[in-house]
Amino acid sequence: MNLKSLKRKWERTKVERRNLVAQEVIVEQRESWIDLNTIQAKVIFTIVSILLFGAIWELAAKLINNHVILPTPISSFKALYLLIQNKIPLGAAGVGSFESMLLQTLEITAIGFLLSSAVGIPVGYLIGRWRAAEAIIDPWINALYAIPMVALIPLLYFGSGSLIPVSVFDYQGDLLPDVLVSFIMTVFTIIINTYQGVRLVSNSLVEVGKAFGASENQLTRHVVIPAALPDIVAGMRLGLGRALLGAIIAEALLSTNGLGYTMLAFQSILNTPYMVATIMVIAFIGFVLLQTPKLIERRLFKWKETERIKRGGNE
C-alpha cells in the first residue's frame, strides 16, 4: 500500500466529493425591483443626501438671515475658496498661510497618532494577555479615562516645557504640548480596543497554537495578534479621529497656528463664513482619515467581513 495508489483512489472519488462540495458553495442570489448592490445606487443615495443637507442649510440661513449666526452654503464655500487661495480677511490676528495651518494640524495629528499606537498597542496587549499587568495598569487607565482630558491641558501646558526638554522632540516651535494633548486624547482609545481584542481571543485558538508547538513568541505573532487585529485596527481607526480632535483642541487652546487656532481667530472677528470654511477643511480631513482605513480594513479582513451581519441592500 503506497501513497501513489492511495492518491489514485482519491482521484476516483474526487468527482463525487467535488459535486457534494459544489452544492455547498453556491452563492445565494437575491432579486429585488431595485438593485441596491450597485455602486451607482450608492452614489445616487450619497448625492441625494448631500443635496438634501445643502437645501436645509440654505433654507435655515435664509430664515435666520444673519450671516454671523449662520452663513449660507454659498458664502461659506466662497470663503473656503478664498481661504485655500491664502486670501485671509483683515483683522484675523496671526493667521498663517493655508499650507502652514494645514501642515501643522496634520503634523500634530500624525505624531499624536503614531505615538499613541506605539504606546497603546503594547500596553493593550500586555493587559489583555496577562492578569498581573491588568491588575497593575487597568485601574490607572479607568481613572485617567474618566477624567475629561481637556481638564489636563493647562497642566500639560505648564508641565511640558519644564519637565520634558523640548529638544527631545526637536521642534522649532512649541508643538510639544499640542502633541501631548493629541496623544492623551488618543492613547486610551487604542489601549482599550487592543485590550478588548486580545482579551477576547478564544482560548481554543491559543490551544491550537500550543498543540502545534508554538512558543510564546509564536503564539503572539501567529495566533493572538492576528486574532485581535480587527479590533486593534478598529481602535486605530477611531484613534485617528481622536488624534485629529486632540490636535484641533490643542491648537485652539495652546497654539498660534493650525486649523484649530484659525477657526477661533475667525470666530473672534465674527467672520462666520471663514470659520465655517475652516470647519469644512477639518471635516474633510476627518472624513479622509476615517474612510481610508476602512478601505484598508475591508481588504485586510476579508476573512472577517463575510462573517459579518448582512445589512439590507448593502452586501
Partner: protein, 278 residues
C-alpha cells in the same frame, strides 16, 4: 492474516496513560471529570475511546497532548512523561480549531511554519495533504467559506502534515454525511495502517465507526469518566478489503457496546432526576 496480527501485537507500548484524574471547578463546585483512567497503546495500533457525552473524552485527549495538567497520574510517550505538546503528536480538534484568518493552504502549513520548514518544502507538503483529503481547488478559501465537513478535513490534513507518530483525533468525522464518513474511515485506515503508519487515538460516539477502525476500544463510563472495559477487536487487519460490518464478531461487539452505552445513559438520567427532586 493471523501472522500479521501477531507482529503488530509485539510492537512496544508507545503511549501509556497511568491513573489520570482531573476535576474542574465550576461556580465554586468541584466537578470530577476523569477518575483514574489508565490504558496503553501499542505502536501502530488504533485505539478508540467511546463514552457518553460529557464523560471527559476531550479533556483526556488534551491531557495526553500535554495541553492540560491532570490532577494526578501521568502520560508516558515513548517512556517519557508528557508535560507539553510533543512535536510528534498531531491533534485533530472536535471544533476543527482552524485559524479563520488563514486560507486552507496556510492552515495546513501552520505546524510546518512553526517548525521553520522552508517555504518550498512547506508548500509541497501542504499540497500533498490537501490533495489527500480531497480539497484540491480550495487552497485559497478561508475556513468560513467551507462546509463543516470540509473544515474538518483541513484539520485532518493539518495534523497529518507534521508527520506525527501519534494522531489524536477528537470526533473527526462527526460533521460528515454517512457516505463521506464511511469513505473517510476507509481512507483513514489506509493511511494510518498503511501509507503513513501511525498510532491513533480516536474519540467517537459512533459504535460502528469504533469497531470498524480499532484494534482496541476503551469504553468509558458517564461522568466521572472511568475506564469500564478495554475491548480487543478481533477482526482482520485490512478491513477495507471486505464487508467487515457483516462479520459475526462485528455484530457481537456492536451489541455489547450498545448495551453498555444504553445502561450509562439510563443511569445518568436517573441520577439527574433524583438530584432534581432532592
Amino acid at each position: 492474516m493471523a501472522l500479521e496480527q501477531k507482529t503488530v501485537s509485539t510492537f512496544k507500548q508507545i503511549l501509556k496513560i497511568e491513573g489520570i484524574s482531573k476535576s474542574f471547578v465550576k461556580d465554586g463546585k468541584k466537578v470530577q471529570v476523569l477518575e483514574d483512567v489508565s490504558f496503553e497503546a501499542r505502536e501502530g495500533s488504533f485505539v478508540s475511546i467511546i463514552g457518553p457525552s460529557g464523560c471527559g473524552k476531550t479533556t483526556l485527549l488534551r491531557i495526553i497532548d500535554g495541553l492540560v495538567k491532570p490532577d494526578s497520574g501521568k502520560v508516558l510517550f515513548n517512556g517519557k512523561p508528557v508535560t507539553s505538546p510533543p512535536p510528534k503528536m498531531g491533534f485533530v480538534f472536535q471544533q476543527f480549531g482552524l485559524l479563520p484568518w488563514r486560507t486552507v493552504r496556510k492552515n495546513v502549513e501552520f505546524g510546518l511554519e512553526l517548525r521553520g520548514v522552508n517555504p518550498e518544502e512547506k508548500k509541497k507538503i501542504a499540497e500533498g495533504y490537501i490533495k489527500l483529503v480531497g480539497l484540491e481547488g480550495f487552497e485559497n478559501h478561508y475556513p468560513h467559506e467551507l462546509s463543516g465537513g470540509m473544515q474538518q478535513r483541513v484539520g485532518l490534513a493539518r495534523a497529518l502534515a507534521i508527520d506525527p507518530d501519534v494522531l489524536l483525533m477528537d470526533e473527526p468525522f462527526a460533521s460528515l454525511d454517512m457516505q463521506t464518513r464511511e469513505l473517510f474511515q476507509r481512507e483513514l485506515l489506509k493511511i494510518v495502517k498503511g501509507a503513513l503508519p501511525k498510532t491513533t487515538l480516536f474519540v467517537t460516539h459512533n459504535i460502528d465507526e469504533a469497531i470498524y477502525l480499532s484494534d482496541e476500544i476503551v469504553l468509558m463510563t458517564a461522568r466521572p469518566g472511568k475506564v469500564y472495559e478495554i475491548i480487543k477487536v478481533d477482526l482482520p487487519q485490512e478491513r477495507w478489503k471486505e464487508d467487515i460490518r457483516a462479520h459475526p464478531e462485528f455484530i457481537r461487539l456492536r451489541q455489547k457496546i450498545w448495551k453498555f452505552l444504553e445502561s450509562q445513559i439510563i443511569e445518568k438520567e436517573m441520577g439527574e432526576n433524583e438530584s432534581g427532586k432532592a
